[in-house]
Symmetry: C2
Subunit: 332 residues, 2 copies
């Protein structure tokens, strides 16, 4: 678009942007530990891998997977649910059954990891954690990932798993949730299931969701470096995932879906320092415009994926638990 | 607080941060017009005035008032309400009566302007605009401002006006609203009225509110320069307003109030580029913790005070109108 006059943006000076004192000590210490003394996020990696470097991607996935497992270790060690791994609807699914055996309700958990990472053990433990947390059977979809399996493999797996869960549970007793890349797939799963004539789940939980693979939102620029977990955009992995498909298609970027055709009540969360803040608030507006019930929760100073156990994270978890508990049985 | 290790913040490089393409053309053009070709916000002023420079403040108020009137001119020219100016409860109040005469309902409008600007004609026109918009009688409080009248003069005027409006309207038929500094005074008015044993209004509308004069929130740092309307913090006018009182007292910084003692259902709005984004999301959390009904609306790329008539502003206005219309008669 041609701008009639003025400037194309705002010029900012080089500076150290301090972590805010408005956070809990635990949150501030997490942020402090996440950067060098010079203020460089430790997650800032080097040059991206070539898309055909299969050995390189395998090594990267192993390293990220080990890091995820380390972060999950405290929760994973105390898991109370039992988890079995099944082929459901053509997809690998970790089915976690809570103590007492579960009931008619189902939570479908789509794991995160930039649409590349997080398969296998982190996904399995995440399913158990979700079953413990919500006290219902949880289906953790261990979807296929690139470079071996680009789009639409992951979404095919999610939709296949949803079809299988629909054979076991009524749609009003199913809630779908995902964080980050899992939020992308959770929302895309709902859009595609709807387009294929399947019933909608009772509710959707989208935590700091990667809803726009075109990265057109403002926070992809404004929160660069401020987000110590995602200090820069992820276009390279987005292109790896898309495998030549249109990044702007609603099945790849659910933000651009038509929600007026139906969408479940949705819980949306992001942080003010979150690279995906714009994704989240734009989705909130899109759902409001379509008159879909939606909650927006934005946390002060929070980066992508939270503060790893600070009081703010517990407050957020309590909001999610309340939303999930209140959503069972909602007509879709 | 001593940080155990790591860094005190994040280092960012000098760069031009572009205005996002995710906005409407009208919004982008407003942003483009608001900066120099080099990317410097036109609102970026020079050194602050000395607090005892009465002539300087008078000139500044005249200049800002003229600018506010220019922005309001399209709406002001078409005003349908009639406005009379009264002394109510010791305060100067512009009472706007909508076409048809109004009814049992009242909207109290507290104007913005950094707690210094916006008195007189902008306040009077704003009251008429609010009466037109909501179709009810509107009381625009023309509170006293510094340097001649520091805290608590403005809040005294707001509380006095609220007492007077309570003699004319039942509390469940009163809604209080304010933008920016007006959001500060609207929330402080409610806290003080409650502490003085007065009944609560039916609802509160806080638009990009200046709820924390200590400026402890993250967005006072992260959104510096990104917010073309408020490209830097306002501590100098905060100190002028406070006149030596504690900036952290809840009557000066309502964010630090105790909401568990009662607070009305509240509408909160900010933009992702808003200097007051942290004020807004922190208030949302504080009200959620106290189980107060609250709505949070965060708009993509929006600076303080919006885009001056873009489609995004109309969408926001429709949300406010809906919230106000649904709030009449709520038990407080």
């Amino acid at each position: 678009m041609a701008l009639e006059s003025g400037g194309e943006g705002v010029r900012v000076e080089a500076r150290l942007v301090p972590f805010p004192k408005s956070l809990s000590p635990e949150a501030r210490q997490y942020l402090a530990r996440s950067v060098t003394p010079d203020g460089v996020p430790l997650t800032l990696g080097g040059a991206p891998l070539a898309h055909d470097d299969l050995a390189g991607w395998a090594a990267a996935k192993a390293a990220v997977g080990a890091m995820m497992l380390q972060m999950m270790a405290p929760a994973g060690a105390g898991l109370k649910s039992s988890v079995e791994t099944l082929d459901l609807g053509g997809a690998l699914v970790h089915v976690a059954t809570p103590q007492g055996g579960g009931d008619y309700r189902a939570y479908i958990d789509i794991h995160g990891g930039a649409l590349v990472h997080g398969a296998g053990e982190p996904c399995r433990i995440g399913a158990g954690m979700a079953a413990d947390r919500h006290g219902v059977r949880c289906y953790g979809v261990d979807y296929r990932v690139p470079p071996e399996h680009p789009y639409p493999a992951a979404l095919d797996d999610c939709v296949g798993a949803y079809r299988a869960v629909l054979e076991r549970h009524a749609p009003e007793n199913i809630i779908v949730g995902g964080s980050s890349a899992g939020g992308n797939l959770a929302a895309a799963l709902v859009l595609r299931a709807r387009d294929e004539g399947l019933p909608l789940p009772a509710a959707l939980v989208l935590m700091t969701p990667e809803l726009d693979l075109t990265e057109s939102g403002d926070s992809f620029q404004t929160n660069r470096m401020f987000d110590i977990m995602l200090p820069r955009p992820l276009m390279d992995t987005n292109l790896l995932y898309a495998g030549g498909h249109d990044l702007a298609h609603p099945y790849l970027s659910p933000l651009f879906g038509d929600f007026s055709k139906g969408f479940p009540p949705t819980f949306l969360q992001a942080g003010t320092r979150d690279l995906f803040l714009s994704n989240t608030v734009r989705m909130h507006r899109a759902l409001r415009r379509a008159a879909i019930p939606v909650e927006l929760h934005v946390f002060e100073g929070m980066p992508h994926a939270g503060f790893m156990g600070a009081p703010e994270d517990l407050e957020l978890a309590a909001e999610v638990n309340r939303f999930v508990a209140d959503s069972w049985g909602r007509g879709a």
